[in-house]
Symmetry: C2
Subunit: 436 residues, 2 copies
């Protein structure tokens, strides 16, 4: 039994069925869809992706063709791990009990509710049905919108609404956007957001959501639409009710085989679990589709007698925000400070291509290193086309615990359309080697 029909759950189900075709694999999801790309939703909201079914990698029908019994629109209300039975409620409201031998929990994440009057007026955009409702609403009226939350999803959604021609205000309670980056790097993202016309309100307290208006710090702001993007947390309630261990991060505790501690035959994967961070050397909650897919596959292997291990994460992420590419890996200066890790940092500005080559744009690279050894602990990149995926090079350097002086002499590719003769990463590594 797999609970949750998105990336982690259906990866587990598909892997298990592929490895053991005789196994009965049953999956439940409370929504109508399976295996959809949540990361693509802002691009569907903007219209860059025209049809919502473009975001669906594999529908319930396609999974069924592969022999997986999928129950969409079916919520799992509770799990009895001793009796090996789950209580489920289908779309008609009728409840029933379903037995299982082995269980994979992939319940994902859930939005943090906005703690203000009128919160129910906010339109979420985390699932395909929510995004479909939002896009329908956008296509049928309104000229103004307020997005609550200045993280990457809030920024992506704000940009999507600007592209649809709306006047957009972004409300963030913190005094900066993109908390996943250090402030000096996030400032460029804010510039880009303001550059496309988003009215960015920082240190702003959302007080109330009214009909076509929100109140922020006592001021009324026009809002034909209010989009909530104020963060998510692991959806671990079902696991908690089943007395599975949940960590400080809010995610279900699993070992590197995605096994739930203390319960034979129970695995968990994806946004609902906590995951080992190799640089911080502790478990964290990172909610990204890339981990969900890999962890789901590992749960599927191990639930069918295999022996696969998830090696942990190092905090790599990328997005495209208002024409800037934005990426990070490892730890930021701020994360290092919060964890009590002493670091040095270097930040350089360069060009994405050879200076003389058309289409060259700015790129900022910040490296965070251990003092003395110069070991690379993290990197952040903001820049125009070609900037973000460079983060993977830094991810490998962090993963392999390389020092920046070695990185500075590394044999990276050079051609004028892709960089100056010293790649921006090498320039940054040289700068970091000097301060380490």
């Amino acid at each position: 039994m797999v609970i949750g029909g998105d990336a982690a759950g259906m990866s587990a189900a598909s892997t298990a069925k592929r490895r053991d075709p005789d196994l009965d694999v049953v999956a439940f999801d409370k929504g109508p869809y399976t295996s959809f790309s949540a990361c693509g939703i802002p691009f569907y909201v903007s219209g860059v992706v025209e049809q919502s079914d473009g975001l669906i990698a594999r529908s319930p029908e396609e999974h069924r063709k592969r022999g997986i019994v999928v129950h969409p629109r079916t919520e799992v209300l509770g799990v009895d791990l001793d009796a090996r039975v789950a209580t489920v409620r289908d779309a008609t409201g009728s409840e029933r009990r379903e037995g299982f031998d082995r269980l994979v929990l992939a319940t994902g994440a859930e939005a943090v509710a906005l703690p203000v009057p009128g919160a129910e007026r906010a339109e979420p955009a985390r699932t395909i049905p929510e995004a479909e409702r939002l896009r329908f609403a956008l296509e049928h009226g309104g000229t103004s919108a307020v997005v609550v939350g200045g993280g990457y999803i809030g920024l992506e959604l704000a940009e999507a609404l600007v592209e649809r021609g709306l006047s957009v205000t972004l409300v963030e309670q913190d005094d900066r956007v993109m908390a996943t980056l250090d402030e000096d790097m996030a400032a460029h993202v804010q510039d880009a957001a303001e550059g496309v016309g988003i009215d960015v309100r920082l240190g702003a307290t959302l007080e109330e959501i009214r009909e076509r208006t929100v109140v922020v710090d006592g001021e009324e702001i026009d809002a034909d639409h209010v989009i909530a993007a104020a963060g998510v947390r692991p959806a671990a309630g079902l696991a908690q009710d089943a007395r599975l261990r949940v960590g400080d991060s809010g995610g279900i505790c699993v070992d590197d085989g995605q096994r739930c501690a203390g319960h034979e035959g129970v695995w968990a994967a994806g946004d609902c679990v906590e995951t080992w961070h190799r640089v911080l050397q502790r478990s964290v909650s990172v909610k990204l589709g890339t981990h969900a897919n890999k962890q789901g596959r590992i749960a599927g292997i191990n639930a069918t007698g295999g022996a696969a291990a998830f090696p942990g994460v190092i905090g790599t992420a990328a997005s495209r925000i208002c024409r800037y590419e934005v990426a990070r890996t490892g730890i930021t200066e701020a994360e290092a400070a919060a964890a009590g890790i002493e670091v040095r940092a270097a930040l350089i500005k360069d060009r994405t291509r050879a200076g003389y080559f058309p289409g060259s744009g700015p790129i900022w690279v910040k490296l965070v290193v251990a003092p003395g050894s110069g070991r690379l602990l993290g990197g952040q990149i903001v820049g125009t086309e070609g900037a973000a995926k460079r983060i993977d090079v830094l991810a490998l350097a962090v993963w392999n615990e390389m020092a920046v002086d070695e990185l500075a002499l590394l044999d990276l590719a050079y051609a004028p359309p892709y960089s100056g003769v010293y790649d921006p990463l090498l320039v940054a590594a040289n700068a970091a080697a000097k301060v380490a």
Copy 2:
């Protein structure tokens, strides 16, 4: 004294002067320019880069302002290492002798002559003056061109001529283009070249270059212009005459500090030297600006009492050819076979972006691995925008001697504009892990 005013030589000169401002640094180059981007020449020929001075990173005058005595248009005819004297000839033809204490050789590479009657009619395009002459000629007539040589430079130049509206034939004696890639990957580059209208003639013997015609396998082909791009070799004659050691690759032998064996106070860097290949575990001749810059810097550090080491190369290179991005690192299957190294290979086709995301294009990734261990020995990538610089990730994996099963679970960045949820590199690593 620095002999050679391009990337390696002027990096050495600049580094030395910066580290020791009281040192007299003198540089000679037979051409009129210093520090130019040879890699940018095809883009100047096409007109993508409008002015040739865009390709010059730092002119003789700019170097002089930084205290380096630069003698352009001055050829070094011979070097007496015992007497510490060089014989030079300036633009007026007059010869003189110049003394030195320490010497950096950065004589670069020289074109291999075409062994056919009329070879002198071929127009080279390796230096700025040659490129200026070629572009002047192109702007003043002609509708057809033959490019001799199907390596990346020949292909880039052929594309440049197509962009100028010429009818272009590419003549290659080998039975495939892009010998730096395996044939299965090079085939995509050939497709792209033919796709933009280049008439690619493989296994073709150039027999004669006549006035406005070349003879290939007995056939006359119209050629208002004939461009030679049939390869280069290290310009090691001066070093050889000075009895410096030259290796089997044709490059000057240096240690990892760029010191010439057996001679105190003599360094060499750039296209004229041979360089340690970390995967092949032997010295090779790789003529790329990125190595020249780094090696020149290292020679400059060591020539001023420092202690820097060049860590060797792993064969990374990238180019953009006929709208495909092309890149490689480590060794190819063919190179492994030639070196007697047993390997396995996996080749996958994927998309550069999430399938539903606009602008997504094909990307082929080929990985070459050691049997058993699955250690990554090399990678090749061909694809549309965003493909080539992914090679740097494989370069780090090769550099760190990673196995593909570890690579397959690595925390790389994911966002729909940059890849599917499994990056093509991870898909390739999974495929390679299966065959290793």
